[in-house]
Symmetry: C2
């Protein structure tokens, strides 16, 4: 920096931003900044130094160049529905909102793809594609509100990701503004791309590598028919085993969800979905495809469920009942919100076969911490969402809840799973990254980050902990009682 400008750094930055953007696109007053102080993980809050709301790629490039020049950190933000604090702003940084990037630029029905700005809502893509009998497959439960740019940043999933994949499997191309304002185009319309796979690398990178300014997604033909089978079990572990048995029978359901007794009862009391209130667990298994295919699969699924000890197996009588079955599942979070003052939604993934063991250990932890848990799972892909019930007004309960949550994540790693299914690492799970990875992998992550952002200006402090932080956290990755890769002596 030249040093010829003697204004305070914040004033210099804001003056320069006002040169680049319309006046109303630069927010600096506390009451204007307040809506941006947190994302969906509201236990972390910070006011940003300034919020900018650009509406062209050119403006984003100029903002990034300016911040790079002044060495000011930048946090990008979509709808702020993220659950791991990935969009938590910095008091000394710029909060870059993509809210005005809300246009569908092109919808190419013949080639089943759409090019959209990052601030377009997930569901808006499927709505725009519906007249062509197409839709965008990944469906996070926040899909009414969450944006496609945020979905890419977190590699979001949803109920249907078992069959249709995560965000990374459903996008074709990204345009990205780098930390110094360069514009990159990565991926493309064809199945493979030459060069390194920057498309996959950017997806799920939590705003650490660049700012997404355009997304081209794949669209899928709407299946001819979708049908759901509900099965009740009097034992949670047995329900867990049935999940593996369905997939071992060669069926990949469009959705395969599980709820335990507390979640069932909360949902039933809330929306009257017709769930069996006395069951220990239910499975909802959705099949989609052609008429003939769905009919065949329903027969197989019903047979497997009965063989595996389901006490009741019900196929939705009609589309209204199918919607009702799903309404119960989709309302599970707010339903649990009615039976406790607060709840904390965890997110981890385990190998499917570990489901019975993990449920047993979560139940044990629930007793140890004296906090009830309602379990709602994307069971098919092993993605757990335990909801810990607590009361933040009781002294110590929030801390106990957070400690319980950390134990659940560490349990996921212990059985060969991961600390995140679809919510990202963000602020929430950064310490558990030290449990997930050894220093070799973390060091490689840092080297890779530096290849995109050598000064660490993009979303600093999120997603990947420093080795120093891990040392302080005291974690060491130990799997099945031994270090997975004992170090060789240097020769």
């Amino acid at each position: 920096m030249s040093g010829e400008d003697h204004a305070a750094p914040k004033d210099r930055l804001i003056q320069a931003l006002i040169q680049l953007l319309p006046h109303e696109a630069v927010l600096t007053e506390p009451e204007e900044l307040r809506p941006f102080e947190c994302d969906g993980l509201s236990m972390y809050r910070r006011l940003p130094m300034v919020v900018v709301l650009p509406d062209t790629v050119d403006q984003v490039r100029r903002i990034m160049r300016l911040c790079h020049q002044l060495q000011v950190p930048v946090v990008a933000r979509g709808a702020g529905t993220g659950l791991s604090g990935g969009a938590l702003p910095l008091e000394e940084g710029v909060l870059l909102s993509l809210a005005k990037f809300n246009k569908i630029l092109d919808l190419d029905a013949r080639n089943a793809m759409a090019t959209v700005q990052p601030g377009v809502r997930n569901l808006a893509i499927s709505e725009a594609a519906a007249p062509h009998n197409l839709y965008y497959a990944p469906d996070p439960s926040s899909q009414i509100a969450c944006t496609i740019g945020g979905n890419v940043a977190e590699n979001s999933g949803g109920v249907h990701c078992l069959k249709y994949g995560l965000t990374v499997h459903n996008i074709l191309q990204l345009k990205i503004v780098t930390v110094d304002g360069e514009l990159l185009t990565v991926g493309g319309e064809t199945l493979d791309s030459p060069g390194y796979d920057l498309l996959a690398l950017m997806t799920g990178s939590e705003g650490m590598l660049g700012v997404i300014v355009e997304v081209t997604v794949k669209l899928l033909p709407k299946p001819e028919r979708a049908q759901v089978v509900l099965a009740a079990f009097d034992d949670v572990a047995r329900a867990g085993e049935a999940v593996g048995a369905i997939i071992a029978a060669g069926i990949i359901p469009a959705g395969l969800e599980m709820m335990d007794r507390l979640a069932i009862q909360a949902a039933e009391d809330f929306v009257h979905a017709g769930y069996p209130r006395d069951a220990e667990a239910i499975l909802l298994c959705e099949l989609d495809g052609t008429n003939a295919e769905v009919s065949e699969q329903i027969m197989t699924v019903r047979r497997v469920l009965k063989e595996r000890g389901a006490t009741e197996v019900r196929t939705a009588r009609d589309e209204a009942e199918r919607q009702l079955f799903w309404k119960g599942r989709k309302s599970a979070f707010p339903a649990v919100g009615r039976i406790a003052p607060d709840y904390y939604c965890m997110d981890g993934t385990i190998p499917r076969r570990q489901l019975p063991e993990v449920l047993r250990r979560i139940s044990q932890l629930s007793q140890d911490f004296q906090l009830p848990v309602a379990n709602v799972f994307h069971a098919g892909d092993g993605n757990l969402h335990p909801l810990i019930l607590f009361d933040a007004n009781q002294p110590g309960e929030l801390e106990r809840t957070e400690a319980f949550g950390r134990k659940i994540l560490e349990l996921c790693v212990d059985v060969g799973g991961t600390i995140t299914g679809e919510h990202g690492v963000g602020m929430e799970k950064i310490d558990q990254m030290c449990v997930q990875f050894r220093s070799a992998e973390l060091s490689q992550f840092h080297a890779l980050k530096a290849a995109f952002d050598p000064d660490g200006l993009l979303n600093p402090g999120k997603a990947v902990p420093t080795l120093h932080r891990c040392a302080e956290f005291g974690a060491m990755h130990v799997h099945k009682g031994q270090l997975p890769h004992p170090e060789l002596e240097r020769f």
Copy 2:
């Protein structure tokens, strides 16, 4: 380097390698080196300085540490079936053969996954899984010989990748030895992984980022039924349009292949597959799934093909005829090899809708260069394999063939496609990377490479050209007559 050792660098290296490895695992005599002088792209040949054949991960780590210490470049090699020269050795480098890493370490049928060493042949995985009614989906035409490590390095596809994806979509976890001998585990058993997506990044990275020493693959249940429909067309463009129409009808075939007249006739004369010799083009459309599903899809596909002007539509009468239809397609390369002294197999990808236009322009180029072309395509995913027929003994024909091949790749980029479908960039297409990408993306590739291999010791000179090389090549990425991203003035 300390300088206390005054032996020639080559002698120092070989002495140290003999310390690390059994004597017979270090090859230095020209007649021992000869089998490693080229891969499947035999127009490029070089003898390596030394070949090493380790058989443990420890040995690979020690070799990499040694080479890093001595700053000797390393080229890793699987079966050497690659078609872009990616495994071409260096006269001043080590050729690291993974041939002895040929064990299936674990086959977990219940969870439909297998962990294998990188030198295991692609087909051997499916053979081992067959008793469990499972298979590994990606099936490059070299699958009898090519190894899974090479498949990962090139992100290989095959006839079935339209429905089942490329290598990257069918692997779960990799173990990688870094340039300095560190061991990294990337990916995992669950659908998503925290941290940056190193699994996807490594896949298709052509040996530039690390040495793959273990691969965990997904296995799929064998479909209940597979059936193939053959359609003949009297016009190549019409066959191209039918490809898009099948997919627009909501069907994703297990394979959708196209051959033109010259390829049809060569194959028919060679294996008597029952192809219509007088057709201008044929499509082979394979459907798989449950019995009911396949029956429904065949009806739809037959209808679409007839609507799109097929002169003949034949469903294979039985499994024997199905196999025969495929035998013709799979023998197309050797069949073409019978009608010309030499042929050069190209590999590029285009958006499906451009198929008719691209075929027209390849035909024009064929006249301009006075070299016949037989076209064999993975039509469903737009992956072209034009085979240029030539005679290397005719002065100038090889050069004319290479020039023609380059024009085909540049044509692919021009219509919005890419210079590689599944064969990688390697040596062959490195100049065309300058056509594919702008300097912004190439610079990002180099930064990323440096994050893994700062001294450029892993497979140097392949896959990603230097900006200097691009400047010399004189290429500039121009799309539809204009630069895609006109540079902004600096503010």
